[in-house]
């Protein structure tokens, strides 16, 4: 099968998956127990006002009308309005998504830079004490829940030592003084808030590239061209980084694209622990207060990030590795 038709087929698949996610969501949120409007409607409200409100959310129409409207809105990226704050969900997502991305990308870049380097080294120095300790560290990092590491870090460095703030993204009372998102990001105060959650997440993410890189290095190192390099009298360092590591990098790239998607989806817990105003924490809060337009919108964003990055990883793999066949 040719490259072009692969791209077309993969794109169609992407659309079908997105539609399926939307449909399942529509069904799920309508199964949710409890009257969602009870959270917005006060008891003093007259029957007419109540009716009007339900009407304005379109909750009275037959299910198929609601479904079609839901899909139409989805295509136009309109997720409705929050039951809780009456804000458009799109605005809420636009407020919280950048916060999540800053945290995730920082953690991710640190984790992959460190993880890949350590992976190369532990693959190279196979059987050494260094290798064993890095592998054990990576395993431990993936076994202890991130939110728990976060709790302990907060306790020791926040509550006991007072080095890091206990919650949030900026100090109290400074929220209004920034003119924009970027203005806030490049402040010392923001960095002080960022460092702990990013370090905890980075420690967790690091294990994955480390272990993949190690295995990949072991495979590359057994190939003939490494011996050729040695025979040519190249420096060990040159062989390790220029020849072996570069060839071992391929599985990492696609793994990274997929892992990034899951990282955004997995942001829920760490954002909750550090009270980081990100999209994952917002989703949890929306679910807890039965604010289903917000829960739905944030969930769709989290899911489609994964789906898109999977898609990109698929295409990238074919581009990077010419040996891949499309079938």
């Amino acid at each position: 099968m040719g490259k072009a038709s692969f791209v077309v087929r993969r794109t169609l698949q992407l659309l079908v998956t997105l539609w399926a996610v939307g449909t399942v969501l529509f069904g799920l949120f309508r199964l949710m127990p409890g009257d969602p409007t009870s959270y917005v409607i006060s008891s003093q409200m007259t029957q007419e006002a109540r009716q009007e409100l339900i009407e304005s959310y379109g909750l009275n129409d037959p299910l198929h009308v609601q479904y079609i409207r839901f899909l139409e809105n989805l295509v136009q990226l309109n997720f409705g309005q929050s039951f809780h704050s009456n804000q458009p969900v799109t605005d809420i997502i636009a407020t919280y998504m950048p916060n999540t991305l800053v945290l995730m990308l920082t953690a991710f870049i640190v984790a992959y830079a460190l993880g890949i380097t350590l992976g190369v080294l532990s693959g190279w120095y196979r059987g050494s004490r260094f290798e064993r300790s890095t592998v054990i560290t990576a395993l431990t990092a993936r076994s202890v829940p991130t939110f728990y590491v976060g709790l302990i870090v907060l306790w020791i460095f926040g509550a006991e030592l007072g080095w890091i703030p206990m919650s949030g993204m900026t100090s109290l009372g400074t929220g209004g003084q920034y003119s924009g998102f970027l203005d806030m990001v490049f402040t010392v105060d923001f960095l002080r808030h960022l460092i702990a959650p990013a370090a905890v997440l980075g420690f967790y993410y690091m294990g994955y590239p480390l272990l993949i890189m190690r295995t990949s290095m072991l495979e590359v190192l057994s190939e003939d061209f490494i011996d050729v390099c040695r025979a040519k009298g190249l420096k060990e360092r040159t062989i390790m980084f220029k020849h072996a590591a570069r060839n071992a990098l391929l599985p990492i790239i696609t793994a990274a694209a997929i892992a990034l998607g899951y990282a955004v989806g997995g942001s829920v817990l760490i954002e909750t622990v550090f009270a980081w105003p990100g999209i994952g924490r917002e989703m949890v809060r929306a679910v807890l207060r039965r604010d289903f337009p917000v829960a739905q919108g944030t969930f769709i964003v989290l899911a489609s990030t994964i789906i898109f990055l999977n898609f990109i990883a698929d295409l990238a793999y074919g581009y990077l590795d010419p040996r891949v066949t499309y079938d």
């Binding site: 698949q13 998956t17 399926a20 996610v21 969501l25 799920l28 949120f29 199964l31 949710m32 127990p33 395993l139 431990t140 993936r142 076994s143 202890v144 829940p145 939110f147 728990y148 709790l151 302990i152 907060l154 306790w155 926040g158 509550a159 006991e160 206990m166 295995t215 998607g261 899951y262 955004v264 989806g265 997995g266 829920v268 817990l269 909750t272 622990v273 994952g280 989703m283 949890v284 679910v287 807890l288 829960a295 969930f299 989290l302 899911a303 994964i306 789906i307 999977n310």
Partner: protein, 326 residues
Amino acid sequence: MAQEEQSSRSIYTDLDDGGSDEEIDKWQRTFRLWRETLKEHWGMLTDELSVKLSMLTVGGFVLIAIFAPFIATHQPLQRQYQGEAGIIIEDWVEPSLLGADTEYLLGTTAEGFDIFSQLIYGTRAALLVGLVAAFFTAGIGTLVGLVAGYYGGKIDDALMRIVDFLYGMPLLPTVIVLVAVLGPDLWNIILALIILQWRSTARVIRSQSLSLRERPFVKAAEVAGAGDWHIISRHLAPNVLPMTFLYGSFGIAWAILAEAGISFIGLGDPNTVSWGTMLQASRAYSALSFGAWWWFVPPGICIGLLVISGFLIGRGYEDITNPKLQ
């Protein structure tokens, strides 16, 4: 030609679907086959010290879970004392382990619950979630993978599209939404985890059975007239078993982690004590800021120990399934 068929039949007679009087024999044979495979794995697994230690840890937790009522000193959800103003209690009792003069080994929570007893009973929730979720995710995943890989074609296509769809769902957010819809109950958390987690087992088992299907012994069984189910259960399944166990033990670890996370967020079962709900309560009462570490450190250590054990046992299996790693 007829002769040849006759002789090939005689070689594979034990693969034949016999009459009903042979039924007992057939089951015995299957049983023996499975037992031998498992015995072989057990031998390879217990070769490694880390795996042995992990199994001891899991075994220890299982014992604690079974004998929880005898080990725990108090009821996990029974208030031990009342505050001055009445039922609402704001302070905790320090652990006697640290020299405080109380009857509470690990102190109490701000709600007046005995932490040691909660920890002991929490073992039950963790193991229940871990073992049940892992059993079903590995089981369903293996069955789907075998069927998809063996039959191929449309069945394979349909099943794999479902798997693809599930791969598009972020684990924790999806479980949160499912639990919110189904209601905060331990069994609903388990159900939500099962719904999502069989995807990875299914994918791996499918690719394995795709290649197994082309092997001579499967072809031979086909020629000998063995039925589909016979081939799947007796020729494919024993060969993918190590993978099933690998994903099963990883599944225990993931399920325990996920349950702890869901409960920590506040969507846990309010009527069950789990390590996650303990952590959630400690956070709700700001045990962190007050430095009441005996409340939130022990449950985390238990989660970590159990999860690491699960991963290490899984890695032991990885060595069996992928000899290249050794």
